[in-house]
């Protein structure tokens, strides 16, 4: 179709002068999409302004940031250390990089799906809205192309048909998708972090399977999460814990939601890559300013080196969140090079 639409609304004059009258520095950054709501929060905007910052952000897949022209930007804020390290090397950024907060990767499920997984030994549930996903059992099911129809109890839920899989983002452009592969390869490799070509070879067919069954994947973590919320999409979706925590913060209970913590998961260390002095000042501020830390916790991020703060702030969401990460093992992340190669082979 080639239709040309008209001008939809008149331009309201005078928007250009937004920043006038205050002594704020405007800093521009590219961020992982899961942090967009944090930076858009009026309280965050206010807290930053109080420290003299106006922050303008744009979302991108963490690995895709490397392909962007970051001229004129003050910082990049990918979702983990690996892409941050790569950006730091590219732009010659001085270490250490500010890492204000982290978030484990979790799987969101509708209750019907979570209960079927539990009934078939793929998950355990702690209460109605929280549980643990048994990664080894899940990977075994994936290896054998297990379908929902083959699982006991799935026939009671019309939507539970087709191959059982966790929907993740494109591991070549997005951090969460890549970290999913890191966790899977760690479990499949018998608790060993992949370091060599031989290690990559060993788990490549399985990782390829985890990705290829999904078909087209989204390029950042906000997409599949939104599909899940709108009632579309796959019954199991890999997201950051912070995304769920934010949702629960806005909406006290999400009736049908179960948060499954993989028994082996990967923590995503949200890492600031300062490209200018202002960018570095902002990164430091996010780590140290008590108000901003508190707001980050409200958005479901875990501040580095302090679990008590997170536990206190998310007390009302404890039915869904595994606050102390009990029974959750952290898989170490392979080097960027290994991770890239893993992702490339998994995408085929």
């Amino acid at each position: 179709m080639l239709l040309i639409g008209g001008v939809v609304a008149a331009v309201v004059a005078g928007r250009q002068g937004e920043d006038k009258g205050t002594a704020t520095k405007t800093v521009q950054g590219v961020i992982g999409s899961e942090k967009a709501e944090f930076f858009a929060d009026p309280d965050v905007v206010k807290a930053l302004a109080a420290k003299g910052f106006t922050v303008k952000t744009e979302s991108s897949g963490s690995w895709a940031m490397e392909g962007l022209d970051l001229k004129g930007y003050d910082f990049a804020f990918p979702s983990s250390q690996a892409p941050a390290g790569q950006l730091a090397a590219k732009y010659d950024v001085r270490q250490p990089l500010p890492r204000p907060f982290y978030s484990p990767l979790v799987v969101v499920a509708h209750r019907s799906a979570a209960e079927v997984l539990a009934a078939n030994g793929l998950a355990t549930l702690a209460g109605r809205s929280r549980g643990t996903l048994k990664m080894a059992a899940y990977l075994d099911a994936a290896r054998h192309d297990r379908t929902w129809q083959q699982l006991e109890g799935a026939d009671r839920h019309g939507e539970l048909t087709g191959t059982l899989y966790i929907a993740s983002t494109d591991p070549e452009s997005s951090n969460s998708g890549a970290l999913y592969l890191a966790a899977a390869s760690y479990v499949a490799g018998g608790g060993k972090v992949a370091a060599s070509t031989a290690d990559i070879d060993r788990t490549a067919p399985l990782l390829r399977k985890l990705v290829s069954v999904q078909g087209a994947q989204q390029s950042s973590s906000d997409g599949p999460f939104r599909d899940f919320i709108s009632g579309a999409g796959n019954p199991l979706v890999l997201v950051y814990e912070s995304q769920v925590a934010t949702l629960l913060g806005e909406q006290q209970s999400v009736d049908d939601l179960v948060v499954l913590y993989p028994d082996t998961t990967v923590n995503s260390d949200h890492t600031v890559v300062p490209l200018t002095d202002e960018g570095r000042a902002l990164g430091d501020l996010l780590s140290t300013d008590p108000t901003l830390r508190k707001l980050a916790v409200e958005h479901g991020f875990r501040p580095q080196g302090d679990t008590a703060e997170f536990i206190a702030a998310t007390a009302g969401r404890a039915a869904y969140l595994n606050q102390t990460l009990t029974g959750v093992r952290q898989a170490p992340v392979p080097t960027s090079k290994v991770l890239h190669e893993m992702a490339r082979r998994a995408r085929g």
Partner: protein
């Protein structure tokens, strides 16, 4: 297929091929960047977002200047770099196809899903009772069975032009192939015989959802429409069914383009935030029947929230393009088209050259099994030349069309109505094909039958013959009222090539053939 995209992309860059209606808006829009105004390349389905965007314009001061284009063509445009500097954002029904094209995907920075709508089937009340279907419990396999039994006919948009058609095609292929995960080439090949049966039930095709709805209403004898739930909900008397064995859902990501100015990209972010606000989400679901993507807003009344399996979208371009290719060339019912071409004296020179070029270019776009008739006219029909693009040797039919095109010459008066009557006589009843007439003229009727005589002729046709629409193209000094009347009488649609290229109009009409 690929050839077609190239031509259409070029046409789109020139902002041509629009209808008379939209053209008026376009004349005030020079496409230049302006602060506070976002130039958005958007799926045609998004025309219904006008009231929402107006509200957001009031709230944020951001004006959206949309250019509507089919998803596949938009992706091609982006991949070729032709959107660079021409658009600030991309807003398609889905970025699934875009992701299969790395050259296009890398031009996008951020993607913010705004709302969602699944593929569904809308069934007429009478057909629903006849089939004794329970709307909550219908599968694609049942739909297929009803088609096979001759109990169900339907219309859908052209998958090559419209995202709704493409998503429908993938949904149907995934469901009928029995594939448990994302479609592969082997799945598509295996499903081909079943799909061919299924598409025998398709009685209407369209380049846009809007025209599909009006053609459906006019026909009165088509049982159902396949489209997005949001589109079907807007059509009276349809019961909207989401098949229980799976659907594909569009999530409308507003995407900023890497080549856009940073200030414009900030406006894209602000626009996305505004669209995600509770008030906008509420307005969206109430006005457009799409589903919200924030948990604080519930889907509008009438949108059933029981869950459906989400069918995975193919993960490779070869599968997606292969499916599209087999739909066009093997699976769908073939087309029979008559091109009624004005070659009167006034066409001499540049106009005739443009016609020849447009037709020659169009030969890259004819499908296998398609029957194409060239009917040049002046004071009367000059010749009737029919060619079939045979799957065994598509080249020879296309060569013959090009040869006949090259031999066109301009002389005589303009006998529009007499020629149209002859086109109807030539086509007769359609049989198992999509029939249509394209009328290209650069002037008003000056000889042969008069307008009222043609009206009488048309009303005297058998009902099946009347189902052939005429798609007139405004060109040169043609009479808009006259051509509009022909389009309305026959259930066609008017296209405008007066300011842009004739290629663009011909290409756009392909979606309706």
């Amino acid at each position: 297929m690929r050839r077609r995209l190239a031509v259409l992309a070029a046409a789109a860059a020139l902002l041509t091929g629009c209808t008379a209606q939209e053209h008026k808006d376009a004349s005030t829009d020079d496409g230049a960047p302006r602060p506070g105004t976002l130039r958005v390349l958007a799926s045609s389905e998004l025309t219904d977002m006008k009231p929402v965007l107006e509200q957001i314009g009031k709230d944020t001061g951001i004006t959206v200047r949309p250019t509507y284009l089919g998803t596949l063509d938009a992706v091609d445009l982006v991949a070729k770099g032709k959107a660079d500097g021409a658009y600030d954002a991309l807003w398609l029904s889905s970025n699934d196809y875009l992701r299969l094209r790395p050259d296009a995907a890398k031009k996008v920075v951020s993607e913010t899903p705004i709302m969602s709508s699944p593929v569904a089937i809308g069934v007429r009340q009478e057909a629903l009772s006849r089939l004794r279907w329970k709307p909550a419990d219908v599968t694609w396999a049942q739909i297929e069975q009803a088609v096979q039994d001759g109990e169900l006919t339907y219309g859908m948009t052209d998958p090559a032009r419209s995202n709704s058609g493409f998503s429908t095609l993938v949904s149907v292929a995934s469901a009928l192939s029995g594939a448990q995960s994302a479609l592969t080439d082997a799945d598509v090949a295996k499903a081909a015989p079943r799909l061919k049966e299924f598409f025998k039930g398709q009685q209407l095709t369209s380049g846009s959802s809007g025209w599909l709805a009006s053609a459906y209403a006019r026909r009165g004898n088509v049982d159902a429409l396949l489209n997005y739930e949001s589109v079907l909900k807007g059509i009276p008397d349809l019961t909207v069914i989401r098949p229980t064995d799976g659907v594909i859902t569009a999530d409308y990501p507003l995407s900023s383009l890497a080549a856009a100015d940073p200030a414009a990209r900030q406006d894209v972010r602000r626009l996305a935030e505004a669209l995600r606000s509770d008030s906008a989400q509420r307005l969206i679901t109430e006005r457009t029947h799409r589903r919200p993507v924030v948990p604080s807003v519930k889907p509008a009344a009438g949108l059933d929230t029981s869950r459906r399996r989400e069918l995975p979208f193919p993960g490779s371009r070869s599968v997606a393009d292969g499916l599209l290719d087999s739909y066009e060339n093997e699976l769908r019912r073939p087309s029979r088209t008559v091109y009624v071409l004005d070659t009167s004296g006034s066409m001499r020179g540049d106009r005739l050259d443009r016609l020849k070029k447009a037709l020659t270019d169009l030969t890259g776009d004819f499908r296998q099994r398609e029957e194409v008739t060239l009917m040049p006219f002046g004071s009367d029909v000059k010749s009737v030349r029919t060619h079939v693009v045979s799957p065994a040797d598509p080249g020879s039919g296309l060569d013959a069309i090009r040869k006949d095109t090259d031999a066109l010459s301009a002389q005589g008066d303009t006998a529009i109505y007499t020629s149209l009557e002859k086109a109807y006589e030539h086509l007769g009843t359609g049989g198992d094909t999509f029939t249509s007439i394209v009328l290209m003229t650069d002037g008003e009727n000056t000889s042969g039958a008069k307008a009222d005589e043609f009206d009488t002729f048309y009303r005297g046709l058998a009902r099946t013959e009347q189902e052939t629409p005429v798609f007139p193209i405004l060109f040169g000094d043609s009479d808009q009222a006259e051509l509009q009347h022909i389009a309305e009488l026959t259930g066609g649609r008017l296209f405008d090539a007066r300011t842009g290229s004739l290629d663009g109009a011909f290409e756009e009409i392909r979606g309706y053939q």
